[in-house]
């Protein structure tokens, strides 16, 4: 009786387990592949999973047969063998290993070799280059041939994250400036980091590679279908690791050219306006936008900081101190110096590498005149430009 119950429970658990894994195959698999690499990957993965699930259930079947039959309450007398005794048993022993050897080195090993070679071949027939720089906690993209450079950061608001506003459809998977790439072009992607390791990966492309500070890593994509593809940083990189998504818009060649022209025009306009004299309200407005997007992740709403980890800006000595000496040079560790050149060894990075002159001028002006700080002064973009 007891045995029957046990059996029933085992079968019940297995049914549930089976249903769960079956669902894994259908409802949960890799995202629909759109590059040759991702297609290979999905194919290989499906094949492997078919193999390992079969192996698992064959072995489990043998185990269950034994559990059902070789039991004391069935009056089974225990055998005494401790190893294979005849040729038939030796064959039974050896067969699984021959099979495993073939699986490892032929069925899995050979396609894996070809996949690895093609994965590492980033240069052959590459049509264009995209430079990706990971930094805490946003991505910088650069198109060297076109001279385009921009920062891409999370668009989801803090209110959504903290449950004060309803979460949007693409919660945590949306950015202000997506990367735009043309379809059917082999794009060589160079990966760098400005601070710690990050990992740039888009599941639909079958690509994931770390950005290592001080070193260059590379990978490539050739997107077959226009669309919006979403990924996330895959290497724990500090506090806001969860909040640096990667969004790639794949578009046709014509649309890509349009986008390039538009981006170029934007950066020309920005460069021109860096030379004009800005009004304080405009700087404050722009500074607020950037603070909410970038600075807030460490320095927190209202510049309160996180005690012990990230310093407060409200009432900070640096923010409420001078930033230029009487000769118009940067004061070391002054407010503007800290924003432009960062503090080595901390998450406070040299923002002159990522921000435009306008951005830096705006953010410094904003911080000096917000959160109860009332320095009353301002920084002009042209000053920042001269100090670079």
């Amino acid at each position: 009786m007891k045995g029957k119950n046990l059996l029933r429970i085992i079968l019940m658990v297995l049914t549930v387990f089976n249903a769960a894994t079956a669902q894994a195959d259908w409802a949960f698999n890799f995202q629909t592949p759109v590059t040759p690499l991702a297609e290979d990957t999905l194919h290989v993965h499906n094949q492997f999973f078919a193999i390992i699930i079969t192996l698992f259930f064959v072995t489990l079947g043998i185990l269950i047969y034994s559990i059902l039959n070789h039991r004391k309450d069935k009056g089974q007398q225990p055998a005494t063998f401790t190893g294979p005794t005849n040729r038939w048993q030796w064959m039974l022993v050896i067969a699984p290993f021959v099979m495993l050897f073939l699986l490892d080195y032929v069925v899995m090993g050979i396609p894996a070799y070809h996949a690895a070679v093609s994965m590492e071949d980033t240069k052959t027939d590459a049509d264009m280059v995209l430079k990706v720089t990971g930094s805490q906690w946003k991505w910088q993209y650069e198109y060297p041939a076109e001279g385009i450079k921009f920062v891409s950061a999370l668009k989801t608001t803090q209110d959504q994250i903290n449950g004060k506003a309803p979460k949007g459809e693409n919660y945590l998977l949306e950015v202000d400036n997506p990367v735009v790439l043309p379809v059917n072009k082999k794009v060589r992607i160079l990966l760098m980091s400005s601070d710690v390791m990050h990992s740039w990966g888009v599941p639909a492309f079958g690509v994931k590679r770390a950005t290592v500070p001080g070193f260059l890593r590379e990978t490539w994509v050739k997107i077959g279908k226009p669309g919006t593809y979403r990924g996330q940083c895959a290497q724990i990189c500090g506090k806001n690791h969860a909040f640096m998504p990667i969004i790639v818009e794949a578009v046709s060649e014509e649309k890509y050219q349009e986008w390039v022209a538009q981006k170029k025009a934007e950066s020309a306009a920005a460069s021109a306006s860096a030379d004009k004299v800005w009004a304080k309200e405009d700087l404050m407005q722009h500074g607020h936008e950037i603070y909410e997007k970038i600075c807030i992740s460490c320095h927190q709403p209202e510049g309160k900081g996180l005690p012990g980890a990230f310093p407060a800006l409200a009432g900070s000595k640096i923010v409420n101190g001078p930033f230029l000496d009487k000769d118009g040079r940067l004061i070391k560790d002054g407010h503007l110096d800290r924003v432009m050149n960062g503090k080595p060894g901390t998450a406070m990075q040299a923002f002159k590498n990522t921000f435009s002159d306008i951005d830096i001028a705006a953010i410094v002006t904003y911080e000096r005149n917000s959160f109860g700080n009332s320095m009353g002064d301002m920084v002009q973009p042209s000053q920042v430009k001269a100090l670079r």
Binding site: T41, I62, P78, M108, G109, V212, G214, G238, A347
Partner: protein, 536 residues
């Protein structure tokens, strides 16, 4: 496999040497059983501490959005969970079993180096406290909390940025490393010098073999871990630049050294469980262990191969093509000795006369869960598909199968198996079985959803996640909390048995039990085998 012709359990001997009582008995103890028990109690305590930390994490992950904690606390909890479970729970627990059992299994009177043994244990509690201190200090405004870079700390530039938590962790790792090395030396010396007459190496129980291999692995890799965290310490405070590219260092060097320790660590955790399982299976199948020598050879093969495959953890960090290929093919080779063991376990119960007491249930459960561990792991090093697995929740789901499904289930089985021997009383069989079924069901419902969302592309270590996968995260969170709650049954059962409830256990405890430890009364006297038994 072995039969004792004389099992001298000398009760009267005890009376000659009174041993200290009260707290001093434990503080100054050089007795392998006392120290073994302390290790086990310490390990079990840390199991509940580490479990509680991760339940807080699962509670945060119950819904999208941040409800309970900021991402910084989240990262600290995840990191502490990993460090505690690996270094302060499973390693001390398995060391406790080796301390308690190995001398009894090989007919020795004690471990060879008893004072070293005492020292090895008493390093642990201060180390665990050091690890946890910075987490609590942050609430008093001191420092920025515990280490928060995941337990492998493999983002070295982030380690360099971190605050005092990292320094505390480095110190803790050193202390725990010293403890492990003393334990390993003790096992090796004991096994090579203290075996009873007639107890040849090829007659030793598999648990002793497994621990012998584990000890050699510890001696090989723990010094590397010590070196790498020391280099990190000097990079942090003394201006060296082993890992800082701007000074000519290489962040990947850190990963290589760390994983040179980290991958063998997987087998350091697993081997003791592989060693203890065959004894349980053979006892309840009433049949000798199948393929004893094949299993011993597998232990060595895995120990050696497992130390040469570390960089499969680094495929997405970018290593050269030749390196990718070598580490992939070498990793696949580990599957062969692993399959030998699974084959031997099944052959051990085949045509036996099985009964299904709690230890046997855990043993069989471990075979199945470890099977899943091996198979889901087989695909990960494959460079044709690694990009979709690496650093995703799939990996998190996968590695809990060997750690929890292999090592933890194995040692829960071992706890039930040896509890009557250690306490002299039978545990509550009904509660034991209930504990098994709840554990196995909730374990799978915790980790299978993780694998699913991982395959769909969700990275690991995320404090918050997109809406699409919230149902699966919810299932995982609820199951994890129930899994944690089920362990309270285990705790209750242990305490109840240790207090002397339950019927008296016989010397042999189980009908099919073999081995020298089952020739001793239950519980074994304070000193055992002061005259070595003769082994035929």
């Amino acid at each position: 496999m072995t039969t004792a012709t004389t099992a001298t359990a000398s009760h009267e001997h005890d009376a000659h040497h009174g041993h200290p009582t009260g707290i001093m008995r434990w503080l100054k103890s050089t007795n392998h059983k006392d120290i073994g028990l302390m290790y086990m109690i310490f390990g079990t305590t840390m199991f509940f501490v580490g479990g509680l930390l991760i339940l807080l994490v699962r509670a945060e992950l119950f819904m999208p959005g941040l409800q309970l904690m900021n991402p910084s606390i989240y990262n600290q909890l995840v990191t502490l969970h990993g460090l505690i479970m690996v270094f302060a729970f499973i390693m001390p627990l398995t060391t406790g079993f080796n301390n308690y059992l190995i001398p009894m299994m090989i007919g020795a009177s004690d471990m060879a180096l008893p004072r070293l043994n005492n020292w090895g244990f008493w390093i642990l509690p201060p180390a665990a406290i050091l690890l946890l201190i910075p987490f609590f200090l942050q609430f008093f405004g001191i420092g920025d909390g515990a280490a928060s870079n995941a337990w492998t700390m493999d983002n070295v530039a982030l380690d360099l940025q971190s605050g005092i938590g990292m320094d505390f962790t480095i110190l803790t790792v050193h202390l725990l490393g010293i403890s492990s090395i003393t334990g390993a030396i003790n096992v090796i010396v004991t096994i090579f010098n203290m075996r009873a007459p007639g107890m040849t190496l090829w007659k030793m129980p598999l648990f002793c073999w497994a621990w012998l291999v584990t000890s050699f692995m510890l001696l090989a890799v723990i010094p590397v871990l010590g070196a790498v965290v020391t280099m990190l310490l000097t990079d942090r405070h003394f201006g060296t630049h082993f890992f800082i590219a701007s000074g000519g260092g290489d962040p990947l060097l850190f990963q290589h050294l760390l994983w040179f320790f980290g991958h063998p660590e997987v087998y350091i955790v697993l081997l003791p469980a592989w060693g203890i399982l065959p004894g349980i299976l053979s006892t309840f199948a009433r049949k000798p262990v199948y393929g004893y020598k094949a299993q011993v050879c597998s232990f060595w093969a895995i120990g050696i191969l497992g130390s040469m495959v570390w960089a499969h953890h680094m495929l997405s960090s970018g290593i050269p093509l030749a390196g990718e290929l070598y580490f992939m093919y070498a990793t696949m080779a580990v599957s062969i000795p692993t399959a030998v063991m699974i084959f031997c376990w099944i052959a051990t119960i085949w045509r036996g006369s099985m009964t299904f007491e709690t230890p046997m249930l855990f043993g069989l459960g471990m075979i199945v869960m470890f099977g899943i561990a091996g198979l889901t792991g087989l695909v990960i090093p494959d460079i044709a598909a690694y990009a979709q697995y690496h650093n995703t929740m799939y990996v998190v789901g996968h590695f809990h199968y060997p750690f929890f499904g292999g090592a933890v289930l194995g040692f829960m089985g071992a706890t039930y198996f040896y509890m009557p021997k250690m306490t002299g009383h039978m545990y509550d069989e009904k509660l034991g079985k209930l504990h098994f079924w709840l554990t196995i069901v909730f374990f799978n419902f915790t980790f299978i959803p993780m694998m699913m969302v991982g395959l769909a592309g969700v990275p690991r270590h995320l404090a918050d996640y997109a809406l699409k996968y919230s149902e699966y995260q919810m299932i995982s969170s609820v199951s994890a909390i129930l899994l944690g709650a089920s362990q309270l049954i285990f705790l209750y059962n242990i305490i109840k048995t240790a207090r002397g409830n339950g019927e008296k256990a016989t010397a042999q405890v189980w009908e099919g039990a073999q081995g020298l430890e089952f020739t001793l009364p239950s519980p074994p006297p304070y000193h055992t085998f002061t005259t070595p038994p003769e082994v035929k």
